[in-house]
């Protein structure tokens, strides 16, 4: 048995200090920045962390649906990220309400034809809020079903969480029956989680991202956006597994080379699929060459990739946001594809962890590239500055702290034998 004690104060002091420090930086940046920059940066990070936290639960759901036996504790590592989902719901309510003027500036005072009825603040706020609330309730139900079997025995050794554990383990039917009931419940919830993410989060993608340029539309954009969240979740799970392997006793036997190989294969394959979705969206827009469609790529990739046939002109890279978009592309596809092409890099912790960092950074840049060009099209460096970076660090600190607290209350990490 592990040294699990369900104590949120069990976080190493340097790690706790670093998280609090990052949150403090975020609060300072939030307080000192101008309102427009603050709320736009807030929106970017709400999208980035919120989507991948929700997608982490989808990853867990996918493992449950296919009855994956290879994963071991990987599922529990992924589920820990979903602790951010309820916070993401609150951040949505706050960010859209107070920052809507700056984030939804292109339609909040009247959307262009034919979206006048669809793009209204009341409709967006209520529908997206309902989606986020539904996903939050679903996430809590899923986590409760997943952790219930291990909470009964954990309650005895955890005076701090004893009350919560006793509520969550009411009407206990015995270890074996609870394990079976948990799996049965997860098998019911997992498809609902995955389908809700696919269908309902598409609405979030349309309302919170695509509508930033209200005259642009692309049916595949929801898929493309959600897949980015899913790939981020896989990368974050791989990164945490590698870190646990290096730092926590007992995890080297859990995060084995075959498991790292499997995680590496998922990052590799899913990055290809992300690129596939991007290209699927790009090629029809390139071919159609209609102004209302090409505006999206023109604002992000400049004129270089909208020319007749990509005749290379270096000066085109100096157009706004082109370098940001290409940097994101390097992290999201170039690095994971070429580095993880072979077997051995996938099984090497430093390489797998390094690639996961590139993917996570790549998608943060990609979320910036989705938001800023729609709001500040003329300034290609609008996404970068003390306020923007400070708020991102604040989100990172808060996200990490929530994960650490959750993993110390619930036996996600310290009970590898659950696998």
């Amino acid at each position: 048995m592990s040294a699990y004690a369900a104590n949120p104060r069990d976080i190493p002091a340097p790690l706790l200090g670093a998280c609090i420090g990052l949150i403090a930086v975020g609060l300072v940046a939030f307080a000192l920045g101008d309102a427009a920059t603050v709320w736009r940066a807030f929106h970017v990070n709400f999208l980035y962390f919120g989507t991948f936290a929700q997608a982490a639960l989808v990853l867990s759901g996918a493992l449950v649906i296919v009855g994956a036996r290879w994963a071991g504790p990987v599922r529990f590592v992924a589920e820990g990220f979903a602790a951010w989902v309820p916070i993401s719901f609150v951040l949505f309510l706050v960010g859209n309400y107070f920052g809507g003027e700056y984030v939804h500036q292109n339609w909040i005072h009247g959307a262009p034809y034919p979206k006048e009825e669809w793009l209204t603040f009341g409709r967006v706020y209520s529908v997206d809020g309902a989606v986020m609330l539904w996903m939050t309730l679903l996430t809590l139900a899923y986590l409760k079903a997943s952790f219930r079997p291990s909470l009964k025995s954990a309650a005895d050794g955890s005076p701090r969480a004893k009350g919560l554990f006793e509520r969550w383990t009411a009407n206990w039917r015995g270890d074996e029956a609870e394990e079976e009931a948990s799996l049965a419940r997860l098998r019911t919830l997992a498809p609902i989680v995955c389908l809700s993410y696919a269908f309902l989060y598409t609405v979030i993608a349309f309302d919170q991202v695509m509508s930033l340029t209200p005259t642009w539309f692309s049916n595949i954009f929801g898929w493309y956006y959600l897949w980015g969240g899913f790939l981020s979740a896989v990368a974050a799970t791989a990164l945490v597994c590698v870190l646990l392997r290096a730092t926590t006793p007992g995890w080297a036997e859990q995060v084995t080379r075959p498991r790292m190989h499997d995680l590496g294969k998922m990052i590799f394959a899913f990055s290809i699929f992300w690129m596939y979705l991007f290209f699927s969206q790009y090629i029809v827009i390139w071919y159609g060459n209609l102004p209302e469609e090409t505006q999206f790529f023109e604002a992000r990739l400049g004129s270089q990739f909208l020319q007749d046939s990509w005749f290379w002109v270096w000066a085109n890279l100096d157009e706004p946001y082109v370098k940001l978009s290409l940097s994101a592309w390097v992290g999201c596809w170039i690095v994971p594809f070429w580095v993880l092409l072979g077997q051995e890099p996938k099984k090497t912790p430093v390489i797998l962890g390094g690639v996961a960092c590139f993917v996570l950074a790549g998608f943060w840049l990609e979320r910036n590239a989705l938001v800023w060009p729609s709001l500040v099209p003329e300034d290609g460096m609008a996404w970068l500055g003390f306020t923007q970076i400070g708020i991102a660090l604040g989100f990172l600190g808060a996200f990490t702290l929530v994960y650490l607290v959750f993993s110390r209350i619930f036996p996600t990490l310290p009970l590898p034998e659950r696998s």
Binding site: I283, W286, Y287, N289, S309
Partner: protein, 167 residues
């Protein structure tokens, strides 16, 4: 040359038996498995399969063919479409991608036949239909004097049964 067959119920036992046999210098081994198991592959295969070279050649041939074919044809019989130039990279990327997959897949199949020396004219004497069901087989070819030692080693590694399939 004698050949001993060990029948196993767990892939891990096969892998361990293979490692032990290799450690003692017995390298003429053949395993039978109802499904791919990484631990058996890791124990049996010391170097990557030659099939991947066929895949690489097929894939590269596909991508070159895809671009060459489309560029050549578009310029040889010029038809203006949507105002795009004849040598348009973006749409031809799709053809190149598809031919990469097609040629890579076909060459992988050919490589599988060549490297695996398939189809066999006759079944190996150690093979049994139950190795396509739930059990695992391990055939060891050895000298006459080593039969007893290998028999004992296979049984030590949880072989459910051991028999001499060639003498």
């Amino acid at each position: 040359m004698p050949a001993l067959l060990g029948v196993f119920e767990q892939p891990g036992h096969v892998a361990e038996a293979v490692r032990k046999l290799k450690g003692r210098g017995y390298t003429d081994l053949e395993t039978y498995s109802p499904a791919p198991f990484a631990e058996i592959d890791d124990a049996v295969i010391e170097k990557p399969s030659g099939v991947r070279l066929y895949t690489l050649i097929g894939g590269l041939t596909g991508v070159v063919t895809g671009f060459a074919l489309t560029l050549w044809m578009a310029n040889d019989w010029q038809i203006m479409l949507g105002g795009k130039p004849f040598s348009s990279i973006p749409p031809y990327t799709i053809i190149a991608f598809e031919l990469t997959i097609l040629f890579g897949g076909l060459m992988t199949f050919i490589g599988l036949l060549v490297v695996g020396k398939l189809p066999h004219g006759k079944l190996d004497p150690g093979y049994s239909a139950r190795f396509s069901g739930e059990e695992f087989g391990l055939v060891v070819r050895c000298q006459e004097r080593d039969v007893a030692e290998i028999d004992g080693l296979l049984r030590d590694q949880h072989a459910a049964e051991v028999s001499l399939v060639e003498s």
